[in-house]
């Protein structure tokens, strides 16, 4: 019996856990007691994260599509074939005809390599990953306001906060171990404020719950700031010494009086005043947000508004005082840090900056492209336009996670060549020409960076199944087959290269991570102990800047034909497209089928019973699923989780994008709901029976 300390592969909390190994098999999981995030606890996904690893569905051999079906192949065949096809496509259509998706599920080392492979070997900046769909607004918005876009505080600070303001995050269900720290703070007397249209679990612990209309976050935040300004709660000293451009922003702010905001958001003006006073009055105030803020066409504006709020009150740059985006995936922070984005290298060094580019050109000994590449949703458009011919997808499942799926399907049918690298067959593999079987988190070494910027080691507990290999090995071998040899003994050598090229990761090396529970970046040198909270004394960009934002309605508002607002999200028991959790007995049993949450008033008007089948349609398509009649959603809003392929919520969502960072508006689409045909028939029969 061996116990291997590693990091949970689900959400961004980055909980430490042990995998129990007996006779070469993983037979259990237990939490780490001293880990600063989970401190001896786990959520249901963590407790069950061992089960999918040895699932029979795991991909074991490389596959090549021949005459329409995927056939088993050797690694040599698959790599040689892939290298040849990629080179053909490059010579026929140019470097920018290939797009690559990295993965927030893979390690930093692997993401670094795929980024290097894309830029140095394929010669394109067309690389992105699912952070585009979750926190690109954060990266864009906070980089503009502060100069760096990440959680400013540490998770262990939360329990000593006095005010916790959570907006657009269902923390208890999506970041359970962070919610644990919040609950502890509340037990110690902290005030919890939650702003969310849905009555989420975290809202049950809140002193004030603001249920604003979906898509009116900017208005709500402007209203709060208006009160802060009007009631002289502004931290003038902080604003004067550490920020700029408040004057410009102030004028816009004065337009958002609480009464006007009440009309826009549906939140009573008195509540807006109360929140403003409570939040501004306490110094140890922490602000948290997640997808409810970012997944809008105004995603960047929402984030900028939040940044303005913390600067106005001076609630940043101290422990227990800051602005905290909660990152979704176990390594989405790391994948962004590694430059798996179309416009930056590692550590957010811009590809358009000639100095940065030269540094990487010299290190990699290749000419690198200058123009920023395509983002996730733009790639789909580029395929439809005939500009993108091939894709390489590592550990992602766009055919369930991207908005407006019917369009995505059309696009993928048009692709000439698709490489999918994954641990399980997923929806995207159905379109693949080559499939590379990859190793899961328990079968390789590397690092994950959690939401509080903590870079932690994951350790190999068992060998991968069959012929599967770690993603980093596959990339090095493919690169070598394409005439650019990559040689690393293990992932620690890759980490050393990352540290060399990335200032914020400069002192992060595997040997330093072995004792203890990782290091928080920025960590510029080998003696640096890591940084628990950001923007101390000065912002990353020097002075923080107030960016003027204005209220804008969501792209698609409800109308007579599509009278309801659809908002999408996750449930506690499942994770994203379900490749792992839906292969876990207990998790699948808890939530085995897709559902739509609908308010009792709406349900009654539409004659929908609890647990009956309904058809929900938008301008882009329709799905059929079970209705859950509940007060959790307010009138006029329905909620559908996006995990289920049987009724993929993203068939309904629109691909309307934030103009700056191109994040799709998953949180607002107009839909209509009707009872399913059979339900209608049943109803008429019952009526007939009654009248008989």
């Amino acid at each position: 019996m061996l116990k291997v300390l590693t990091v949970c592969p689900y959400c961004g909390c980055g909980c430490g856990l042990y995998l129990h190994v007996e006779e070469g098999r993983i037979i259990g999981v237990s939490p780490s007691r001293n880990h600063p995030v989970n401190r001896g606890t786990l959520c249901i996904k963590g407790w069950n994260c061992y089960e999918f690893i040895q699932h029979p569905d795991r991909l074991r051999t490389p596959l090549i599509r021949k005459n329409g079906t995927l056939k088993e192949a050797t690694w040599e065949e698959a790599l040689e074939y892939t290298a040849r096809r990629l080179q053909e496509i490059i010579s026929l259509y140019g470097n920018d005809s290939i797009g690559v998706l990295g993965s927030a599920k893979c390690t930093n080392e692997e993401n670094y390599l795929i980024m290097k492979f894309t830029r140095a070997v394929l010669g394109t900046n067309n690389i992105d990953h699912c952070a585009r769909l979750c926190h690109s607004s954060t990266v864009g918005g906070l980089a503009a306001a502060f100069g760096s876009g990440a959680m400013t505080n540490s998770i262990s600070e939360i329990r000593d906060a006095r005010v916790i303001f959570v907006i657009g995050s269902n923390t208890t269900e999506q970041h359970p171990m962070i919610a644990m720290h919040m609950l502890e703070a509340v037990d110690k007397g902290a005030t919890l404020i939650v702003a969310d249209p849905r009555k989420t679990k975290i809202a049950e612990f809140a002193s004030i719950h603001l249920r604003h209309r979906s898509g009116t976050d900017v208005a709500l935040l402007m209203g709060i700031m208006n009160v802060i300004l009007g009631e002289r709660l502004v931290d003038r000293e902080f604003v004067m010494r550490r920020t700029e451009n408040l004057e410009i922003f102030e004028n816009r702010l004065r337009e958002f009086t609480p009464d006007r905001v009440e009309k826009l958001t549906g939140v009573p003006a008195s509540d807006i005043r109360k929140v403003a006073r409570v939040y501004a009055a306490e110094k140890r105030s922490m602000l948290f947000y997640a997808m409810g803020i970012t997944q809008h066409i105004t995603g960047v504006d929402n984030v900028k508004a939040l940044a303005n709020l913390v600067m106005l009150t001076g609630h940043i740059g101290l422990p227990m005082s800051g602005l905290n985006p909660l990152r979704g995936q176990n390594n989405v922070q790391g994948a962004c840090d590694m430059g798996v984005l179309p416009n930056v290298y590692t550590g957010y060094q811009k590809v358009t900056d000639p100095k940065a580019r030269q540094k990487f050109e010299r290190a990699w000994r290749r000419r690198l492209p200058e123009k920023p590449g395509l983002t996730v949703v733009e790639m789909t458009e580029a395929i439809l336009d005939g500009k993108l011919k091939a894709m390489y997808i590592m550990g992602e499942n766009p055919l369930l996670s991207d908005p407006d799926l019917n369009q995505v399907v059309k696009a993928f049918e048009k692709l000439q060549f698709l490489i999918v690298q994954d641990i399980f067959p997923n929806e995207t593999i159905e379109f693949a020409d080559v499939v590379f079987p990859a190793a899961s988190f328990a079968e390789k070494n590397g690092t994950f960076t959690n939401t509080e910027r903590r870079v932690q080691l994951i350790r190999k507990a068992i060998p991968p199944p069959g012929d599967a290999k770690a993603d980093w090995q596959i990339i090095t071998e493919l690169s070598t087959a394409m005439g650019y040899p990559m040689q690393y003994r293990d992932t620690y050598e890759i980490m050393e290269e990352i540290a060399l090229l990335t200032p914020s990761y400069g002192g992060i090396l595997h040997y330093r991570l072995e004792e203890g529970y990782g290091l928080q970046w920025p960590c510029p040198d080998r003696k640096h102990p890591g940084t628990p909270y950001l923007h101390r004394k000065k912002f990353a960009r020097g002075l923080g800047t107030f960016l003027t934002v204005d209220f804008k309605l969501p792209e698609e508002m409800p109308d007579d034909n599509y009278p309801l607002i659809l908002t999408t999200g996750r449930t506690y028991f499942h994770y994203h497209t379900g490749t792992m959790c839906r292969r876990t007995t207990v998790l699948e049993r808890e939530e085995p089928e897709p559902f739509v949450e609908i308010n009792p008033e709406d349900a009654e008007a539409l004659e929908i019973r609890d647990r009956s089948r309904v058809k929900i349609s938008s301008r882009r398509g329709s799905i059929t699923l079970m209705a859950i009649v509940t007060e959790r959603v307010p009138k006029g809003i329905v909620f559908v989780p996006f995990h289920f392929r049987e009724a993929a919520a993203n068939i309904l969502t629109s691909a309307a994008l934030d103009p700056e960072v191109k994040i799709p508006e998953y949180k607002v689409s107009a839909v209509k709901i009707e009872p399913e045909e059979t339900e209608k028939i049943l109803k008429t029969e019952i009526k007939a029976f009654r009248t008989r």
Binding site: M1, L5, H20, P31, T41, L42, C43, P56, T585
Partner: protein
């Protein structure tokens, strides 16, 4: 029947080394970062004995989270019961008490062959606790900090030597085979042992009488509003059930690997709504409060009725793993506060 010896601490590693020749030796090890976990011992001097209650407890060696039951290939069935010998060194008295109750669940009347095989091949060496954690409350239940009977081998730390007690056949054999390193205890040794027992009892921070809690519940004084409050906080992680040394819920799964079928059992928890899912998707216990209540009733009401002792040994593991702080100790203390309050009200009336 109990036999007693003295073992010089200098001879402990020799003894364990001999035991390891016939079995897999498992003991507490300190990992980087400071966690202490049960693992196979490679270097005996690394055993870390100044230990808190370990997560997970020794339940995992008798009833692991994932246990293969059998394989089926070409209509041939191969049973996969693990018969490897194991010595688990350094378990706590509460853990041994829990195993005693597990034995009754898995072995009385219907014998579970998988548990039975693991149990027969596992020797538990427990150590009298002289450093209970703030989460511990075994003293009030009588499941620790030391045991009077029904253990394999129990060690009491007397400074530079251990008082070794063996109660099971297996335990006595493990000592008699190396009798030349053990000596007879003297009067002073027993005096020292008594002192350790007294001081161990004095070190508990929590005094919890589950009997009092039980009588509050069965007399209907704990209302549903109380359970509602408890249930609202629940994270539905299942941690309390997974880590409870007495919880035995499992579910059975079949996995098809090509032409081979594997049947396994995995830990399950009554706290999940799907645990009682019925055909047609009906969830009789959809409301969390029903499940929370059921867990507490099982531990505090049904267990005493059926088995004659509480379904809790006071190990405090649920206190450690519960993210919401609605573990047995916290809830028991809250219920006790209700009782105290009630008494005060009665006093005032009088």
């Amino acid at each position: 029947m109990s036999s007693e010896w003295i073992l010089d601490k200098n001879h402990l590693s020799y003894w364990l080394r001999q035991l390891r020749k016939e079995a897999d030796l498992i003991g507490p090890l300190r990992k980087p970062g400071g966690d202490i976990v049960f693992e196979s011992i490679e270097r005996i001097h690394e055993i870390f004995l100044d230990l808190p209650a370990l997560i997970p407890g020794p339940k995992e060696f008798l009833f692991p989270q994932y246990e293969k039951l059998f394989n089926k290939r070409d209509s041939k069935v191969e049973e996969l019961s693990i018969k490897r010998k194991r010595v688990v060194f350094g378990v706590r008295s509460c853990d041994v008490s829990a195993v005693r109750l597990l034995d009754r669940f898995f072995l009385d009347r219907f014998e579970d062959p998988f548990y039975s095989n693991r149990r027969a091949n596992t020797l538990l060496i427990s150590i009298v606790c002289n450093n209970p954690e703030p989460t511990c409350f075994c003293a009030g239940i009588g499941t620790g900090p030391y045991l009077r009977e029904d253990y394999d081998i129990q060690l009491t730390d007397l400074g530079e030597r251990y008082l070794v007690q063996a109660a099971s056949k297996q335990g006595i054999r493990a000592i008699k085979a190396y009798s030349f390193i053990f000596s007879k205890p003297t009067r002073t040794d027993y005096d020292d042992q008594f002192e350790v027992q007294l001081s161990a009892m004095a070190r508990f921070q929590k005094r919890i009488s589950l009997e009092r809690v039980r009588s509050m519940i069965i007399t209907g004084k704990v209302r549903d509003t109380f359970w509602e409050k408890v249930a609202t906080r629940c994270f539905e992680c299942g941690g309390c059930v997974y880590e409870c040394p007495l919880c035995t819920c499992f579910t059975v799964i079949d996995r098809v690997f090509g032409d081979e079928i594997e049947r396994a059992r995995i830990w399950d928890a009554c706290l999940f709504k799907g645990f009682t899912r019925l055909a047609g998707g009906v969830l009789p216990n959809e409301r969390m409060v029903m499940r929370t209540k059921r867990w507490y009733y099982h531990k505090l009401v049904h267990y005493p009725e059926v088995i004659g002792s509480f379904g809790c040994v006071g190990c405090g593991r649920c206190t450690i793993v519960c993210p919401a702080k609605i573990d047995m100790a916290t809830v028991a203390i809250k219920i006790k506060a209700l009782a105290d309050n009630e008494e005060k009200i009665i006093e005032q009336k009088e």
